[in-house]
């Protein structure tokens, strides 16, 4: 079954992974800008990273027949220094105008500090001023519930928001309902220990239905699985769910969400 992985960090994966993903029928990925495991030392470091996401990674993925779409932004872990963040944000329009760039992401909260909120609000303002889609990272572990609620509060304050163009990612059982009830797309991340499993993702879809839900691997430089989406497909098949339902979640939904971005060009497969 053809599938998208709408949130994966190919910059931290080898081409071995891309080869496996392609063999499992991955046709496209979304790669948000994220924390590389250490705090970057300057704005040039971010600039080079954005170049990597928008120039080099698409070439690497294309060798395996995988279309690559990037999000650019400053991640929550590097958002505490608001002045520095604003310097990085000033570079974003150059990359948002490039082909195959979906919008601003992954942005969000980490420890839910006042400074993180200030940076996030600046990013949201840029996105809404330019009409960009947004992809939100919700915090890990004990911060997830509080951080998700805070993100939703911030978004609710802005009347320019088109909620159908926004994804609240890394949802789990205690946050997914709020994201969906408020009209956003909900991302379920299949990632060991700190996020969900394919089985729990299937449970949430059985409870809330398949509409406006994306599943992704968020595979990165830590122990994680670039084949998490095919494993989810296998779990859903094992439970007896219809192929059309599974295809909706892993192909039609990402296609529908990404199509709203002016930077997205993709020829749907038959």
């Amino acid at each position: 079954m053809y599938f998208f992985d709408p949130h994966i960090h190919l910059a931290s994966r080898t081409t071995d992974d891309m080869q496996l993903m392609a063999q499992m029928d991955c046709v496209a990925v979304g790669e948000p800008a994220f924390w590389m495991g250490f705090d970057r030392s300057g704005t040039n470091s971010f600039y080079d990273y954005f170049r990597q996401l928008t120039e080099w990674e698409p070439l690497r993925a294309a060798r395996y027949g995988i279309r690559h779409y990037a999000w650019v932004g400053i991640n929550a872990k590097e958002a505490e220094d608001v002045g520095f963040a604003r310097e990085v944000i000033a570079h974003l329009p150059e990359f948002l105008d490039k082909p195959d760039v979906l919008g601003i992401g992954e942005i969000g909260l980490h420890k839910c500090t006042i400074n993180e909120v200030a940076t996030l609000e600046a990013l949201i303002d840029l996105a809404l001023t330019r009409g960009e889609q947004m992809l939100f990272h919700t915090p890990h572990l004990e911060h997830k519930l509080k951080g998700t609620r805070m993100i939703l509060d911030i978004l609710r304050n802005d009347s320019r928001m088109d909620r159908s163009r926004v994804c609240i990612d890394h949802c789990e059982e205690h946050t997914i309902r709020a994201a969906l009830d408020e009209g956003y797309w909900a991302g379920i991340t299949l990632y060991p220990v700190t996020k969900a499993t394919p089985q729990r993702a299937a449970d949430m879809i059985e409870i809330y239905g398949p509409d406006q839900i994306l599943v992704n691997s968020s595979a990165d430089w830590d122990p994680s699985d670039p084949l998490a989406v095919p494993k989810f497909i296998a779990v859903m098949r094992g439970r007896g769910h219809a192929e059309s339902l599974i295809r909706q979640i892993v192909y039609d939904n990402p296609l529908k969400f990404f199509t709203q971005s002016r930077g997205f060009t993709f020829k749907p497969l038959e």
């Binding site: 839910c112 572990l141 004990e142 911060h143 997830k144 519930l145 509080k146 609620r149 805070m150 509060d153 304050n157 789990e172 059982e173 205690h174 729990r200 449970d203 879809i205 059985e206 409870i207 239905g209 398949p210 439970r239 007896g240 769910h241």
Partner: protein, 79 residues
């Protein structure tokens, strides 16, 4: 959305995995208990005990309840 498998079929499929996870959990708690040093006032042990009570209860949405148990409080007047 209807779930294709019955409760009985799900239990058939998942029983051994549940059993394995419970044993893993029990082994982790044994390991902590066997190790030297006090833990009397560590709030995480109390959270673990509360989580085990949630598991043992028959109320639905155990996963959500446990996640909330391990979550920081949210102040709706934070802004």
């Amino acid at each position: 959305m209807p779930t294709p498998l019955t409760a009985a079929k799900l239990l058939d499929r998942e029983f051994l995995e549940i059993r394995a996870k419970l044993i893993d959990l029990a082994a982790s708690l044994d390991r902590i208990q066997r190790a030297p040093g006090p833990l009397a006032d560590d709030p995480r042990m109390d959270k673990i005990t509360q989580a085990l009570r949630i598991l043992a209860a028959h109320a639905p949405a155990r996963a959500e309840q446990i996640e909330v148990l391990f979550s920081l409080p949210y102040d709706e007047h934070w802004q």
